[in-house]
């Protein structure tokens, strides 16, 4: 992915991220910390403003996109102190290298440190999945582990790693 950076005198910095085809995401970071997010479908079309964020909100959004920031809203059922660990819900995309493998083959705990405590498949929730449970595309893995371990899992699940 190509990112173009330029300085805007009196305003701040502009970053343009190339998305699919000619589409670009434009981020303006103002000197006062405000961030503006624009989407430009193609060079000949006008940019559409998507959002205007304060510095703090922008950092939160950034870490969410990065996969490092996640605060489950409904923690009612979980009264157990988890220490450093957090629970995350991570979707398995069709292109993920783990689809079709059983939990045993995928060896998620050994490779990342997180434990898969449940799998949500459509309406159904497989609690405490067995080692021979097959991971399917579209599954949502409910995993417990530290932030770092969760990040490892995200990496493992994305195809980028293989490329």
């Amino acid at each position: 992915m190509t990112i173009y950076e330029s300085e805007i005198p009196g305003v701040g910095h502009k970053f343009e991220l190339e998305l699919d085809g000619e589409e670009r995401l434009v981020v303006i970071i103002h000197h006062d910390g405000k961030r503006e997010l624009y989407r430009r479908p193609s060079p000949n079309e006008d940019s559409v403003k998507l959002a205007s964020l304060t510095g703090k909100k922008a950092r939160q959004l950034g870490s969410i996109l990065e996969g490092a920031y996640f605060q489950p809203v409904e923690m009612d059922e979980l009264n157990v102190p988890l220490g450093e660990s957090i629970i995350e819900w991570i979707e398995v995309k069709a292109e993920s290298p783990l689809t079709g493998q059983t939990l045993e083959e995928a060896a998620i705990r050994r490779r990342t440190g997180v434990s898969v405590i449940a799998i949500q498949r459509g309406e159904e929730t497989i609690a405490n999945p067995k080692p021979d449970t097959t991971i399917e595309s579209g599954d949502i893995l409910v995993a417990i582990g530290t932030r770092e371990e969760q990040a490892e899992l995200t990496t493992l699940l994305t195809t980028d790693e293989g490329n």
Binding site: G10, H31, D32, S47
Partner: protein
């Protein structure tokens, strides 16, 4: 009525705040609003509504001082945001659009001066005033309009960078010539001292950035603000005492910081200071304006508005084309360059300080009228650009 100075200042800032809010509400640039409210509450006519006196704020040393600080900070920030890297990396394109812009609009201004029987010096002032677009109004409009994320913002911002550098050099030359009047010897000495002093500043900016970096290293924002303000105002003041434009000196102090890591901190900590003083500067322009003088320059004003709007539109469209933009977008570049503002006023303040012939009254009065019209007209053209370009498209095809 002998108001304490504090009351006058309070009235001034309150008036500025009120019209500023009003202008933003209706989506117009704040600069003309500040000038207009200055005219209203100032000592020149109109002086009363019925029996209520409108001579609320009299020009005095203190407003003059704050206005001067406004100029110093405006130019300081110009220098600060002046990016050498950007200039060097885009050199060819930038110089091309800059020269097109300069060639068309500066010459139009010069021609206008000659046509209306001004002297050469007066014509050069006039040319600078109608040539320089307003970075402040234009960048604000670009953000409001969302153009900042589009391709047309590149030639617009590029041209502004070129103009800003040009105007800094131009101010230096013009003030050396204008203030050093008398024998050619006096002028030569004046130009010589200017060049020596500015060369010194440029030398520090170029070679001393590491030293500047360390000198201004401090944890406390308060101390940082004081140091930067102190050095800037001190150098600008010294320049003025030596007969050199304070604005130009401030520009070079700005560039001195532009090479350091302090840039973003200065922008955060000092922007409010700049905004306050710059607002007072625009306000003070209004205070010192006698709008009855506008009657004398009405014809010049009309002609100038017409041909310089067309001039910027044409040069901007050509610039857009040279950046490979399509026609609609190139038209937008042209419309985007129309607003004039702060630097035209800085030039007219310099003209007023020279005070001879048309420079003393006629050109300042013209500039106020011109900036009022061009900043409003320019903002409107950007806001309604789609309608304007559609009309033009159909007219040309």
């Amino acid at each position: 009525m002998a108001d304490p100075l504090l009351v006058q200042f309070g009235i001034a800032v309150t008036a500025i705040a009120l019209v500023g809010a009003l202008a933003s509400r209706i989506g117009l640039s704040v600069i003309p609003a500040y000038i207009v409210v200055g005219i209203l509450v100032g000592p020149n006519p109109p002086t009363a509504i019925g029996d209520v006196s409108l001579r609320l704020v009299r020009t005095g040393e203190f407003i003059d001082l704050l206005a001067e600080l406004g100029i110093v900070f405006l130019l300081f920030f110009l220098g600060l945001e002046f990016s050498l890297q950007q200039l060097v990396s885009n050199r060819d394109r930038l110089v091309k659009v800059g020269l097109v812009d300069l060639g068309i609009n500066f010459l139009l201004g010069l021609g206008l001066g000659v046509l209306f029987g001004f002297s050469w010096l007066e014509s050069f002032f006039l040319a600078g005033i109608v040539y320089i677009s307003s970075s402040a109004v234009i960048t604000k409009s670009l953000i409001d309009q969302g153009w900042i994320a589009n391709a047309e913002s590149e030639p617009i911002l590029g041209t502004l960078v070129f103009e800003d550098i040009f105007i800094a050099v131009y101010l230096a030359l013009l003030s050396a010539v204008a203030l050093g009047e008398g024998t050619p010897m006096d002028a030569a000495i004046s130009i010589g001292t200017s060049i020596a002093f500015l060369a010194l500043l440029v030398g520090v900016a170029w070679y001393g950035s590491e030293y500047v970096e360390r000198l201004f290293q401090t944890e406390s924002n308060e101390l940082f603000l004081l140091r930067v303000t102190g050095i800037t105002v001190l150098i600008a003041g010294t320049a003025l005492a030596m007969g050199i434009s304070e604005a130009v000196a401030a520009f070079f102090v700005g560039t001195m910081f532009s090479q350091t890591d302090h840039v973003s901190r200065i922008e955060q900590v000092l922007s409010p200071t700049r905004d306050l003083f710059a607002a007072v500067f625009f306000f003070s322009i209004g205070l010192s304006t006698d709008i009855t003088l506008l009657a004398d320059v009405l014809l010049l004003l009309g002609v100038a508005v017409l041909i310089t709007t067309i001039g910027k539109f044409v040069s901007g469209t050509l610039s857009g084309r040279s950046y490979g933009l399509d026609r609609t977008r190139s038209f937008r570049v042209g419309l985007g360059m129309v607003p004039r503002g702060e630097f035209s006023l800085v030039l007219s303040t310099l003209a007023m300080s020279v005070g001879t012939g048309a420079l003393g009254e006629l050109i300042p009065a013209f500039t106020v009228g011109y900036v009022l019209i061009m900043s409003i007209l320019g903002t409107l053209l950007i806001q309604h650009a789609d309608r304007v370009t559609n009309t033009l498209e159909t007219a040309f095809t």
